[in-house]
Symmetry: C2
Subunit: 831 residues, 2 copies
């Protein structure tokens, strides 16, 4: 431990002459000093950045914010990676797991020059230095964490746990890239991070880049030690070895020694990576590579005050944020801060103009090799869209709407298969899933690729190989984290997962949306492929499972986020799913949530109508209602003339006398029930005019000032009428739909049914009954809303109640009395 | 691997004579056969449970649902734990990580007798057997997963990842309990599970029970291998050793050998546990204990069909669900199923009445030692409430509302401290937090206990010891999982965490609410202490951090769940927080979400008013408005007569001429801004009558049919008037408030401001400006809603705009021009 600081004794004079610094470590140390100096300056100073005059209380920021503890370690790693780049020409992406060490990362970007290139007002001179220190953690300035405004970054590091997953995703299909990933010992305690250590089982050195984890143990979190921080080197080494890495420990508190050992460790790691990759690229990969890893143990708050007010600080949790809290009021603290700052000898680091002295500036890499300038951190060097074949290749033939059933997601699997094929030369697409690709009916991808796994492949394994590029791992955190890293470095992907367990990584979705929202505001940040999440095995159809598998809550989570980046699609069938998929796979900078079940469901729209429906987001399905035909006539597709479209989008005029009731639906099962209810109403109550509106883009519902997809009032009322009653069957929690309507006129006329936390292992029809969204419930509500003023209304109401009672007795009694378990499915009306 | 089944050759004749079965393994194997037989029967059969006649298609369920693959392994472990209990008298709680192996667990409960005791209609005879097989995964029957209806269970195992955390929580302060926790190799791939292996660093053998992990590797998930499943024994052993366990491998596909080895492994494990505990209880714990663990490798779908249609099934992923899918249509499959069932020789397992033969029935433990009957799985044997001292011990003295500031959560820390003290003899309370107890101002607990850690304690550590019972680990998953296990076994706790990162474990909150909802419907399940979640460091005050730390989304997630189990409290100050804490800590079967910031905030209510406010959930704050006093007079507490209460709860009559505007608020920062706005309005526009309503129980807002706390229409309108305009400042996302209002008359009159995803590292006041919830925004909206028809309105509007412009220029320009960063805080009006 450095115990000089509290005595404020000067450091040994630095001599930059290369003859006396054959390996450059003394210069490197001075560069590190510059980084540490400017880190402290950012946290404390608003003036006197170069300490040209004695420090006074007026130079101190009125509010001291920031995290010193992790910063010197982050800077140490950064300057040594600079050295490695200079020696090897490696392209390195830097992921700072302890992203709260923002000032350390920013200062390294500043010293290497990338920061000033992107933010010219923070120039490499005295005035720029003043701006640099004042902007940090200051209103109107920059946030305290690494984030989108930080050049070279794809990772925020606020919500801990995802650095290694992001790094791994960034390395996939990026053969020339090394992702150096710093994992703090706080983050190492989280579940998602612990789950990420298994990367070697999924990284193929013959085609992927390398991840170089640097587990930086300074021993403490905010106020206590960490588990790994207090374990022996042997234990930590054993843990990483057990996960398949080849770790080396670099440990110490004497910078001179640590420089030597860390430099050697990184050089060796680089050599190992090169060797692993050359071997695999020449001879093919055999088994998981034992990739190098570095365990770096240095004091928390290294080079900072050893003792403050008689209490040890350096090397303890007390160095976590601002080690000297009372500098404005307490002259002793102010003096100690000045001694601390002067211990870095700023007058030897910066010239008279405030520029880093040339011999230090020469240490940083140049051009795109600077970690702040790597194209990988900014959407990749050459972001190419996915080559999508015409949807006609996959579209289902749909004749009479609803007359055929098909597993809705299966054609999407074929589309993804062709994307794999068509990007084989320029690999930039992967599918990520918790072992559910086949279960989710996307198995067509296995015609052209396999599941990826580096562990041995056995006879009888199904489409498994190290060359496979479908990523299956039973961890939503890993699937999503890998995809986020893959997409932020400019490649495309889809995370397909069970709806109920999408909440496992909901917080990642929130954080990613925040990243995108912030990044979009920065002109220098390139757009990146969207985070595409496909939820299948929905709450309505979880046949093998039960209540725990019924949770549509991610829709609600996503709806809370900024409308500038979130999109929610509920395609009612396969062709609309294809249209949605085409859109989301080509989109940029969104979180796209697509919810659709995988089971066999009725198919409704041919491709042309599906495209129009998807483009409009919602439309009237004429063939399912009767408000636009002479009163009393039941409509069906056969009744439509050849020139009449089967749907009407909201911007088209509606030739209707006005329906008595609007039945709206969103999602496959709600659509099926609504169509059946519409048929029941028309069949039994022919005088009643019924309109069916299908909503597949949930965000057409709010007003346009709440979301860019929001329909104009005119268009909204074209669909839902200005003031008529609307019965809604909605895929998710009913209250989410009400939330979406906020700001619309008279929202009270919308009566919404949806998933209401009722469920178990039961029949699909029982699920809609339990949640009161069945065709009979919808029809009864419609009759109630029109006050039963039509002939046949009472008859239909009786019929509905009879059927529900019959269902109830069936459910309650069949265990004893009924020989078979049946389902009731809707048969659409014959033409 | 067992390759007999596809040839349907008979098994070796079992001879139960004890002379030929000295260790009882042949009997044990027959018991296991019975479990496997009834597992298969549950998945396939609706009749002919005992196979007394030849199997026909009519005996087969029309829909085949369930998971065979994991079931024989679960049963194997269960019967061996039975044996261990018989040998040692140990009290064992069984946690089935692969909870989808529901039929295996249910059948073991049935065989040991606990199932029929709780569900007498599923009796231990032929008729009961018929009900047992028919009810499984059948509408109106039982779900396919282990769940609340499963006796002896505290863990559902649907959303994988939490079994080991639940087991660890259950063992804490349960010195006599061994929690046997089966972890499947699918679950072992998840992040939360991987993060749970560090339990030895937190379990103190001198006072806690033991966790015995049984890592059951059958090699596969749904359709592919698992990482651990394909690694060598050495690698898996090394991983668990690195996490601090002492694992032993039991591996094989010959039941006779596996029985011997597993029995020995469990006996040794039990002996190790006893030794560790005796040593620690005599001499104190020194360092983490090296607890035993078992790695069990057996074939997936063991004893099932080896090959189906020429494709290997047993020992592969194809055994995951229903290995023979076509038994109703395919005679060969039917024959193979019959051979499979008969291979267990059911005629030798059950007597003529369908009862397990006595020599097998004698194998199971008796009474409360049966794992289905352990009190620990049903709220503990003696659930005692927490002894809470009168809140007067902690309440703040509050004079003029808003005149003093105090860190709101600090008195709660004192309350928790005394709970620790008062339960020292009967330990049943713990605080769980990701290293934030001090940061969250709950540090008073450290006056009487420490942070728990078994690793070495160093000089300079702050309140850290193996005897500490404050659980700090940087993992929301672990904190919440531990508390869930602790509470489901009948003990009390609080999970205090940063608001933004509560979403990390949001899916656990959803799943726990589902568990409670289901459990409440079961009369035999005892109520258990609620899951209490305290969110601090809220979106409005994340001073050291920024945008990534601003996320109030857990409120939205919780609001979607069943009203029968969820509660959301937003105390505006410290005394109301105490009243809320008293309520939630004594409550049962709820998920209680309490959101309040930790920083110094104005304090408003004395304890008496705080209690009334908390009990009512919302009330009018007369002293902050002027609608109940002669028009034009500014009210303040000094103006209230001694007998007049400062608040009016909704069931009290309101002596008001009717306000011109209602300002409603929920949450500390929204309250502060609203009170300031109310003051601005009264000061500048004295003729305008303003009412301030504070809402601290969010669930008074919906109608009573949506939540039991919902106010009656009369009470609701007593607060908010029948039709007046209401400006709302809401802690979270504005749309959540709108969602809550659904079902109320004319919800369009509520104009809500809340967190709208705007933020960075900035001043608290800038946060409310960015999100347009500042006092000036609220006042301007109020003026707009009353159409500015009062004297002084224009003057106030100008003032508000001036102040916002001043703020904006301050934020944008101070980096250059202003010497200091300031905040603007509201000063309440002088009396």
């Amino acid at each position: 431990m450095n115990s000089q600081l509290d005595q404020a004794s000067p450091r040994p004079q630095n001599d930059a002459a290369s003859t006396r610094d054959p390996d450059g470590f003394r210069l490197l140390n001075r560069y590190w000093d510059a980084a540490n100096y400017l880190t402290v300056a950012q946290i404390y100073l608003q003036e006197n950045a170069l300490l040209r005059t004695a420090l006074t209380a007026e130079h101190i920021k009125p509010r001291l914010l920031g995290h010193w503890g992790t910063s010197p370690g982050l800077s140490l790693i950064y300057v040594h990676l600079n050295r490695l780049i200079q020696k090897t020409g490696a392209e390195i992406l830097f992921v700072a797991g302890p992203g709260h060490g923002g000032p350390a990362v920013v200062v390294n970007l500043y010293l290497e020059g990338t920061y000033s290139e992107i933010y010219p007002h923070v120039s490499q001179d005295a005035e720029g230095l003043r701006r640099l220190i004042r902007q940090f953690s200051t209103p109107g300035g920059i946030p305290s964490h690494v984030g989108p405004p930080t050049p070279g970054s794809i990772h925020e590091g606020g919500e801990l746990g995802y650095s290694l997953a992001h790094a791994t995703g960034a390395a996939m299909d990026n053969p020339g890239l090394i992702v150096a990933c710093v994992v703090g010992d706080g983050e190492a305690e989280t579940g998602p991070l612990e789950g990420s250590w298994k990367a070697p089982a999924f990284l193929n050195p013959s085609r992927d880049g390398a991840v170089l984890p640097i587990l930086h143990l300074n021993g403490y979190k905010i106020s206590g030690p960490t588990v790994l921080g207090r374990q022996s080197d042997e234990q930590v080494v054993a843990l990483l070895r057990a996960h398949g890495w080849d770790p080396v420990v670099v440990s110490g508190s004497d910078p001179a020694l640590v420089h030597v050992h860390l430099a050697r460790a990184l050089e060796n790691a680089h050599a190992q990576i090169v060797q692993i990759q050359e071997q695999a690229r020449r001879h093919g990969a055999t088994g998981p590579a034992r990739w190098p890893a570095v365990i770096l143990r240095t004091p928390k708050g290294w080079t900072g005050p050893a003792v403050v007010d008689g209490v040890p600080v350096e090397g303890t949790f007390r160095a976590h944020q601002v080690p000297l809290a009372g500098v404005r009021e307490n002259p002793a603290h102010l003096a100690q801060l000045e001694a601390w700052l002067r211990s870095y000898e700023p007058e030897t680091l910066f010239d008279a103009d405030g520029r880093l002295v040339p011999e230090l500036a020469a240490i940083a890499p140049q051009g795109r090799l600077r970690m702040g300038a790597t194209p990988s951190a900014n959407g990749g060097s050459d972001l190419a869209s996915l080559p999508l074949r015409p949807l006609e290749n996959y579209a289902l033939e749909v004749g009479t709407p609803g007359s055929t059933k098909h597993e809705t997601t299966r054609p999407l699997g074929e589309m993804l298969r062709d994307i794999y094929t068509d990007t084989e030369q320029d690999r930039r697409f992967r599918l990520f899933s918790p072992d559910e690709t086949n279960s989710n009916r996307l198995g067509a991808v296995f015609e052209v690729t396999d599941r990826c796994q580096m562990e041995p492949v056995l006879d009888g394994d199904d489409h498994l190989s190290p060359d496979g590029r479908v990523m299956e791992v039973l961890s939503e955190h890993l699937c999503q984290g890998w995809l986020e890293g893959y997409a932020l470095t400019g490649r495309h992907g889809l995370f397909a997962t069970y709806e109920a367990f999408a909440m496992v990584s909901a917080s990642m979705t929130v954080q990613h949306a925040k990243w995108l929202q912030h990044a979009r505001e920065l002109p220098w940040r390139n757009p990146v492929p969207s985070l595409n999440i496909l939820l299948t095995s929905t709450c309505w159809r979880n046949d093998h499972n039960g209540f725990s598998h019924q949770g549509p809550g991610l829709i609600d989570t996503v709806l809370s986020l900024s409308g500038s980046v979130i999109r929610v699609y509920l395609p009612p069938d396969s062709n609309t799913l294809l249209a949605a998929a085409e859109h989301v796979l080509l989109s940029r900078d969104y979180v796209n949530l697509v919810v659709v079940d995988k089971q066999a469901h009725p198919q409704y729209l041919n491709l042309e109508d599906a495209r129009r429906h998807a483009a409009a987001g919602a439309s009237i399905w004429h063939w399912a209602g009767n408000d636009d035909v002479p009163s009393g006539k039941i409509t069906h597709p056969g009744a439509l003339s050849g020139t009449q479209s089967s749907i009407t989008t909201p911007d088209e005029s509606v030739a209707s006398t006005g329906p008595d009731i609007v039945l709206a639906c969103a999602g496959d099962v709600p659509t099926e029930e609504t169509l059946a209810a519409a048929w029941l109403l028309q069949h039994h109550v022919p005088e009643m005019r019924v309109r069916v509106v299908n909503v597949m883009d949930a965000l057409v519902l709010p007003p346009r000032d709440a979301h860019p997809h929001g329909l104009s009032d005119v268009d909204f009322e074209n669909l839902f009428t200005p003031d008529g009653e609307v019965i809604v069957a909605w895929h998710g929690y009913a209250r989410a739909f009400h939330q979406l309507l906020h700001g619309r006129r008279s929202p009270g006329r919308f009566h919404v049914r949806g998933y209401s936390e009722q469920g178990t292992t039961t029949t699909p029809f029982d699920m809609v009954v339990l949640n009161r969204m069945s065709r009979y419930h919808v029809a009864l509500e419609a009759l109630y809303r029109v006050r039963g003023r039509f002939d046949g209304a009472q008859e239909l109401a009786d019929h509905c109640r009879t059927m529900l009672a019959k269902h109830e007795s069936y459910i309650h009694e069949h265990l004893e009395d009924l020989p078979e378990i049946r389902d009731w499915v809707w048969t659409p009306p014959e033409p």
